[in-house]
Amino acid sequence: MGVHKQERDTMQQKVLLQVSGLYKTYGSKGASRQAAPVIDGASFSIRQTETVGLVGASGAGKSTIGRIIAGIEQVDKGKLIYQGQDLLAMKAKERRAATRSIQMVFQDPYESLSSRMTIEQLVAEPLVIARLHKNDPAKRTELVREALREVALSPERYMHRYAHELSGGERQRVGLARAFITRPQLIVADEPTSMLDTSLRLDLLGLMRELSQRHEIAYLFITHDLALTRGFCDRLLVLNQGQIVETGTPEEVTENPQHPFTLRLIEALRELDQF
């Protein structure tokens, strides 16, 4: 699959999202206390159809960056330029309209799907929220079927079931179908595989890759597992203490790490790799 991606020269693609000088401190409002910032001036960009991996230790601020982009976390300072528009300068309502094509897949396949809704209602929720095809329930149902087929879940078998009847892997695919149904340009995937069993992780990544190839989706793939990014990500961002300390293809980063933090991370992984 790597071959296919390399043929498309991602350097030629237009920038989809430009993040610059992001800064965030938790806790004390206005950062009057001397709390260490979670995000400390992170800057990077994501091009159209590009899969960008964001790796780092726990507590490095990976999830916070993802949540800021998805609009569920406030930011203290910085700029988010999405499709040429400055998101942070917008009012909440305008921003929601402008970022309809940014969707998110969450880490926890159990918590992120409401237990009161059927799979059909869950997958259709972005349409309901965006008031798309409001008076055309048949069209909505058709879109749900299509989205489920895209993630290799048979609509007939799954549409009327509830999330708690599904396995973790199936639930995560429902989450992916839900993110996909509005035909997004960018999906923020926050550790989507970390709560899945080992044997299901590569399945989900394979599915995500197929989806992006068919429908030209860019991913921000957040993970603590560098090994997963090989063969999946076009480019890696290494985050340490709220700053991007290194960037490059997964091959460059793993074979020739520059920053001391990346070096330590890779040494640790190599150690687990020996047997």
């Binding site: 230790a57 609009g71 009161r116 989450g175 394979g206």
Partner: protein, 572 residues
């Protein structure tokens, strides 16, 4: 309370309520008298004419009870509806919006919670006159604040739930989230709250009326009692038919709503359902009697698990979480137990520690530790072994350290619960064990929140080691740590194993972690051991398809291996 018992209680409540409702709605057609008119001689005892007799003015008491039922239920239900409604709206808005609105509403709630309802009733009664409306107003005013607080607490916890975050990431507005996600989540809480509110307001109404602060023109159970008391019912025999029936009505109604409220509350919160332990013990004994004789423990084994089966009831049948599992652990050996979630690996650990969560129970098999079968020991005997000779590192233990005790105190507590040592000996042992897990002694005074994840995990390991156990059972000790810390902890455990000769059962879903630590590895799937062997041999040469699939799906940094695993992926 068993499920059937709580259902019975619910039905009993419904039955009592039905009697009260019958009195209120069918009563007027059965009783031929007007409650406010003289229909017989004063102080007439119960008889054919007047079933429950008459009062001092010759009014029929049954007729009064019927009117009273209507008044009490109306005031109770209207006040409860208002209080629940206001409480829910305030709680939702306050909990969801946070910030200024929250602070504002919560101060009002604080004030309302301190309002004494009797003086309030007198004050309001003076201004707008005693009436049903006054009663409703006062009862609502006194009750809504408590409801608001409970609803707010629930809303706060739902506000940051995954499903709500997901909706926000899809661009949902606040109103949509409140309507579609938060309100349905708290609804199961609102309904029992309402039932309890009805209960309390009926009681309040009766008390107010009994004290003469109700509507003087409308009869309620409380005001019947008020008149009986003030017009000398207790000087004659009349109290028997004048005081007891309204009293019984109040008791019955309050009891009805209490029982229904209890049933609803328990249905919403299944954890309240206490488990009937004696029945389970009996079940286990029965199962144990049926059990075919197991072999005595193998001589060289520290832990010898034979034919262990753990089952729990589900949907009328039983599910075997662990299905006839046998394995043995020699002294100084590290045994890896690998399986995906739900494979039963943690259940084995709980069974060995004799800490299975009911209704799960060991239905077959034996667990020999140093020669004696743990399943046959008394709970006191097991308690003495636990944490002492068998140490347990439970899942996510590093997040469960006591936040108000420093490291030294936690270790001292673990020591003191099993040994009698002097202060100096304790201090010495703590320094020794901290050194073993690679924590400088200055960290002994630190509290858990001051430590990093890796350091907390070291403290957990120190707690396991402090009593010099013979066996350590470590359940997912590296899960939730990032790779660098994982490697540190594995190195530490390896080192400890070598220097102290530890015997350990190491449970993890993370195959690479187990492979890098265990001497022997068992692979579990759906409650059974599907593959086992020397760890190296298992990793390199196992032909079992499930084992191969697990090994092949490990992502690698090394390109050659990675290519193989990805190609395998593409072909599937």
């Amino acid at each position: 309370m068993s499920r059937i018992g709580s259902k019975m209680i619910g039905w009993l409540g419904a039955f009592l309520l039905a009697i009260v409702l019958l009195l209120a709605f069918v009563g007027p057609y059965l009783v031929p008298y007007d409650a406010s008119e003289q229909s017989g001689a004063p102080f007439q005892p119960p008889g054919k004419e007047h079933w429950l007799g008459t009062n001092d003015m010759g009014q029929d008491i049954l007729a009064e009870l019927v009117v009273g039922a209507r008044t009490s239920l109306t005031v109770g239900i209207v006040a409860a509806l208002l209080a629940t409604l206001i409480g829910t709206v305030v709680g939702l808005v306050s909990g969801y919006s946070g910030g200024f609105l929250d602070a504002f509403f919560m101060r009002i709630v604080d004030i309302c919670l301190t309002l004494p309802f009797l003086p309030l009733m007198i004050v309001i009664g003076v201004y707008i006159g005693p009436s049903l409306l006054t009663q409703v107003l006062v009862i609502t005013l006194v009750m809504w604040a408590g409801k608001a607080r409970k609803i707010r607490a629930q809303t706060l916890s739902f506000r940051t739930r995954g499903a709500v975050l997901a909706a926000r990431s899809m661009g949902a507005g606040h109103f949509y989230i409140l309507r579609k996600h938060i309100f349905p989540s708290i609804l199961p809480l609102v309904i029992p709250q309402f039932v309890q509110a009805v209960n309390v307001s009926i009681l309040m109404e009766s008390s107010l009326s009994f004290l003469g602060m109700g509507d003087p023109l409308s009869k309620s159970w409380g005001s019947i009692l008020f008149y009986a008391n003030s017009r000398s019912a207790f000087l004659t025999e009349a109290w028997m038919w004048w005081v007891i029936p309204p009293g019984l009505c109040i008791v019955m109604t309050v009891l009805a709503f209490s029982l229904i409220g209890y049933y609803l509350e328990e249905r919403v919160n299944p954890r309240l359902r206490a488990y009937q332990a004696p029945a389970a013990k009996r079940d286990r004994r029965l199962a144990q009697e049926k059990l075919a004789a197991v072999k005595p423990a193998a001589a060289d084994a520290l832990l010898d698990v034979q034919n262990l089966t753990v089952q729990y009831p589900k949907d009328g049948g039983t599910v075997r979480a662990v299905d006839a599992v046998s394995f043995a652990l020699r002294k100084g050996e590290v045994l890896g137990l690998v399986g995906e979630s739900g494979s039963g690996k943690s259940t084995i650990a709980s069974a060995v520690m004799q800490l299975l969560k009911p209704p799960a129970l060991v239905s077959q098999g034996a667990i020999y530790f140093a020669g004696s079968d743990l399943t046959q020991l008394s709970s006191e005997e097991v308690r003495r072994l636990r944490g002492n000779r068998i140490a347990w590192i439970p899942q996510a233990a590093m997040n469960a350290l006591n936040p108000v005790m420093n490291v030294r105190e936690q270790l001292a507590e673990a020591l003191r619960s099993h040994q009698s040592m002097s202060k100096d000996e304790i201090a010495e042992r703590i320094d020794e064990v901290l050194a073993q897990v690679g924590l400088a002694s200055r960290w002994a005074a630190a509290f858990p929140h001051e430590l990093s994840g890796g350091m907390r995990q070291r403290v957990v390991i120190a707690m396991a080691l402090v009593n010099k156990p013979d066996l350590i059972i470590a359940d997912e000790p590296t899960t939730g740590l990032d790779v660098m810390v994982q490697v540190e902890i594995i190195k530490l455990l390896k080192n400890l194993q070598r220097t102290l000769g530890l015997s350990m059962v190491f449970i993890s879903h993370d195959l690479p972690v187990v492979l890098s630590l265990a001497d022997r590895t068992l692979i579990m799937n759906q409650g059974k051991i599907v593959d086992q062997g020397n760890t190296l041999a298992l990793a390199k040469t196992s032909t079992h398809p499930y084992t191969r699939r697990l090994i092949d799906s490990i992502p690698r940094l090394t390109p050659a291996l990675e290519q193989r695993s990805l190609q395998g992926q593409g072909q599937r």
